[in-house]
Every structure is written in C-alpha cells, then in structure tokens.
C-alpha cells in the first residue's frame, strides 16, 4: 500500500505544473548571481589553443577580430569579445575589427569602449572598427585581396586615408590571425572555408554553445587554432588571463541549472520506468 502511494506521488510529481520548473530554474540562476559565487574550472584544450596562439603573437602585429554576432547572442559572445580584447591589448597587438552581421559593429564598438581605455589604447592607432559589409563569403575573399577596396571607410565613416594604422595594410592577409566571434552564418566555418584553407591563415573562433559541436572537426583537423564554446569558453579564457568577468560570473548559475536538468531527466526516467513496470 505504502509502495503504491509512493509510486502515485512520483507520478503526480511527474505531472507537475511547468511553471514550478521555471521557478526552480529561475532560483538556480538568480541565487548564484546574487551571492556572487565563483568556481574554478579546468581549462580545455581548444581554449588553451586559442590562448597560446594569441600569446605567441609578436607585439605590434595585426589581428582581424570579426564581430559576427547580434544582441540575441550577446550573453554568450560579448564576454568573449571583452576577454579577447583584454588579452590582445595586454599583448600590444593591433586590432582590425569588422563584421559580416549588420548588428555586429555596435557590439564590437561597445566592447572596444569598455576595454581600450584600461590599456590606454587609441582608436585609429591601436584598433579600428571597419563596420559592416554585406556580401558574406564574397566580402571575405574581397578583403583577402584588397582590404581598402572592400572597406573604403570605417564604422564612423572616416575615410581609409585618415586612419593611421591602416596605412600599412593592403589586405586581410597582413593580419597574423583571424579570430571570429560568431553566432552562426557567416562565421567561423566560412572563415575557415574561404580564407583559412585558401590563404593558409590561422583561424581562431568564439561561438555560441549551440554551434560548438559543428566546430570540433575543424579543431581535430588543425584548421581551427582554438575555440571558445559559449559562456564556459569565455569563463575559461577569463581564468587563463586572470581577469574575472561576465563568463566566470555566470558559471555557478550555469552549473546549478545543469545539475537541475540532469535531476529532472533522471526523475522523469524513473517515473517512466515505474509506470511501465505497473502496466
């Protein structure tokens, strides 16, 4: 009798109002954020690969930072943009940023405005935002041939000739590395296909967790130097350069929700098995 009642309770719990589940998830996210809890993470090889590649660049060399994302993917990709700028500026590397996504340039500029003053970096001398260009793969190829023709003006409509750091640049290939922070198409995959393989350039990436599994074959093949996957990728990178930011701040909440999702899945399967055994 007691066993049956226990079984009924489990079944009743399995039909719980979904709003209660939402509330549990909300608590799992809100409490760690409010308490400011932090956790230490192990660094994965793809993140270390990107860190090592950037760390090995000569100061004064150029890196192409593609901000191929929009506000919809900001929670995952903006922390990556910030942490990459932190590392690049700390290494005195000059940054050329451009976007193949229309809402990308304001995102990139916001990140520049947040990080550049900390390192005393100046627009047009240490970094430049070339803005958005429609054309996807065609823009990649065009920039690899003639950057000035592709982006005659920057994000602020300043002509190419008036931006000092661009005067030594002829094409995208003058950059030592391309790092694409991307939320989908066009993004890391297209940079690899169109520029990385064709011109033998090193490509690093930062992607949303949804698109990360697609990228792992490129790491295994060596076409991708390193990869940051979702908020966790950003958090690992923040740990590597010892600059805790938005990534690390969200990791405890992320882990709490993951544990809760695992509990939900196990619970649902237990109830399913109980119901199946009864029948």
């Amino acid at each position: 009798m007691a066993e049956k009642a226990k079984g009924d309770l489990l079944v009743r719990l399995s039909r719980i109002d979904r709003r209660i589940l939402f509330l549990i998830i909300f608590v799992c996210v809100a409490v760690p954020l409010l308490t400011g809890a932090k956790m230490k993470m192990s660094i994965t090889q793809p993140v270390k690969g990107l860190y090592d590649a950037i760390d090995g660049l000569q100061p004064g060399s150029y890196v192409w930072l593609a901000a191929d994302y929009d506000p919809g993917s900001m929670p995952e990709l903006y922390p990556m943009n910030i942490v990459l700028l932190d590392h690049l500026f700390a290494r005195n590397i000059k940054i050329i940023s451009a976007s193949l996504w229309a809402p990308g340039p304001p995102m990139a500029q916001r990140a520049f405005d947040a990080v550049a003053p900390k390192y005393g970096k100046q627009y047009g001398i240490d970094y430049v935002n070339l803005g958005f260009k429609e054309g996807r793969e065609a823009v990649m190829l065009s920039a690899a041939e003639d950057l000035r023709r592709t982006f005659p003006r920057d994000f602020f409509n300043t002509p190419w000739e008036s931006v000092p750091m661009l005067q030594d640049i002829r094409s995208l290939r003058d950059a030592k590395m391309i790092v694409s922070v991307s939320a989908g198409y066009p993004g890391v995959k297209e940079w690899i296909q169109q520029v990385g393989t064709r011109y033998g350039m090193r490509i690093g990436g930062g992607v949303t967790a949804v698109t990360a599994p697609e990228m792992y074959p490129y790491i295994q093949s060596g076409q991708l130097t390193g990869l940051l996957s979702g908020m966790k990728g950003a958090a690992e990178y923040e740990q590597l350069i010892a600059r805790p930011g938005l990534g690390i701040a969200g990791m405890v909440a992320q882990s709490c929700v993951h544990i809760m999702v695992v509990v939900f899945i196990i619970f649902a399967n237990v109830v399913y098995l109980i119901e199946k055994t009864r029948k």
């Binding site: 709003r19 996210v29 690899i192 296909q193 064709r198 093949s221 979702g230 938005l246 969200g250």
Partner: protein
C-alpha cells in the same frame, strides 16, 4: 473609445521624449528601463500567454525590421550602389564604341556604369509583387543562387571535403600514446594518456560505422547491420552532446538577461 489606448501610449511617449529633451531624464536610464520592462514582458509568457507579451513581441518584430531596413539602406544601398551611380552621372561622356562605313557610333558612358546591372537585377526582385511579372525576379534570384553556390562549393570542397578526409587519415595508434601510459605518474595523467590512446581508434571506427549507417545500397543485416547499429550509437552520442550544448546556450541567455536586470536595472549586483 478605440482611440483611447493609442492616445494614452502616445501621451506617455511624448512625456518621456520631453523629459529626455529637457535633460530631466538621461537617455541611458530610459533605455535601461525600457529594456528591463520589455524583458519582464517577454518573461511573462512563462506564466501564460498575455497581451503584454504580445505587445513586446510585436515591438521586437517591428523594431528589428525597421532597424534592418535602415541598416541595409545606409550601409549597403547608398554607399555601394546609389551614391557611386549619382556621382558617376555627373561625369557622363560620349564614348566611341565602333566605326562602320564612315559612321562612328558613340554611346553615353560614366564611371561606375556597370552598377546599372546589379541595380536592374535588384529592381527585378520587386516584380514578385505582380503575379504577371513575377517570373522576371527569377533572373535576380538565379544570379544570387549561382554566385553563392559557386563560392560555397569551392569553400566546402577545399575547406571541408579535402581537409576533413585528410584529417581522418590517421594511424590507429597515435605516436607516443603507448609511451604516455607508461610515463603517467598519477591517476589524472593516466586517464588523459588512456583517452589519447583510444582517441584515434574511436575516430576511425566512429567514422566508418556512421558512414555504414548511411550506406543504403544493401539491407542492414548481419555484420553490416551490427556496424550500422554501432554507427547509430555514435550518432546518438553526438546528438546528446549537441543537446547538452543547446541547453548550455539557452541557460546562458537566461543568465545574461537576469544579470542585466540585477546589475544594470536593479543594481543589486556589481
């Protein structure tokens, strides 16, 4: 009666605009409040569908469409097509094309004249609004599909097919992986060395068995069936990994929004 709601909304907007214009309300604070209230409006759907959610949803669609059109106009249409054409039209000259029997044929020419072709193709896209002329838009679509298919095909062949096939031509046992097991000093090292040892066989067997699953020329029976079933397991594991990453991605979005609400709006966290 129907006009009361729009009039009230308009009045609120006018008041807010005048407060911002008069310097009594900072645009930053107003923006944060609007973003926070719209976030809460979207979250209200988790309780149940409601009008506030619908209002936020419609606002999002409208603003996104308007923003996209404006961006495309100022960043694409004007600098790439319209402005060069207008500049070129100020320098129209009569260019000699050919001579025939003492007659010299001249045609008007101006710099950037070739842009007339994409302009015409762009205009043809609007033919879709007419059922009778819709077929004209196929020319523009054909040009787009053709050029992008060409670009994507070269990229996929060079960057995906060749490079990925090459990346899978690997030895069954990676160089130094056996030595790694012998040299491992502690349990962690031993685990990593073991994973390195089984990495290549897993890749090779996973690739072959998954390809066998997609081989439909013979019925999946006997040994072919066994390998194909193992291929299904590899596929299921990869789908599981993708699902895990998707959960992580969606949770990150929730964290981002809650962080915004608590930090920028309520200021309860730094």
């Amino acid at each position: 009666m129907k006009l009361i709601k729009p009039a009230a909304i308009l009045l609120v907007l006018v008041i807010l605009a005048s407060l911002v214009a008069g310097g009594r309300l900072s645009p930053g604070i107003l923006g944060t409040w609007v973003a926070a209230l719209l976030t809460l409006a979207i979250f209200s759907f988790l309780y149940k569908d409601n009008r506030i959610y619908k209002l936020a949803e419609h606002l999002f669609i409208g603003v996104s469409a308007g923003y996209s059109v404006s961006l495309e106009y100022w960043n694409v249409f004007r600098p790439n097509l319209w402005d060069p054409l207008v500049r070129g039209l100020h320098h129209v000259t009569m260019a000699h094309v050919f001579s025939l029997g003492g007659f010299s044929v001249h045609l008007p020419y101006f710099p950037g004249m070739l842009l007339l072709f994409p302009f015409a193709l762009g205009l043809l896209l609007f033919a879709r609004f007419s059922a009778r002329l819709a077929w004209l838009s196929r020319w523009s679509i054909a040009a787009m599909v053709g050029s992008y298919a060409g670009l994507a095909m070269i990229g996929a062949l060079q960057g995906d097919l060749v490079a990925q096939v090459r990346a899978n031509m690997i030895p069954l046992v990676a160089a130094g992986s056996l030595g790694g097991i012998r040299a491992s000093g502690n349990a962690d090292d031993l685990i990593f060395a073991f994973l390195r040892l089984i990495q290549n066989p897993l890749i090779i067997f996973g690739l072959i068995s998954t390809l066998v699953y997609f081989f439909f020329s013979r019925e999946h029976k006997g040994s072919l069936g066994v390998v194909s079933r193992i291929g299904v397991w590899f596929l299921m594991i990869s789908f599981g990994a993708s699902f895990g990453y998707t959960v992580m991605s969606r949770v990150s979005l929730l964290i981002g929004r809650l962080h915004f609400l608590m930090s920028d709006w309520l200021r309860v966290i730094p």
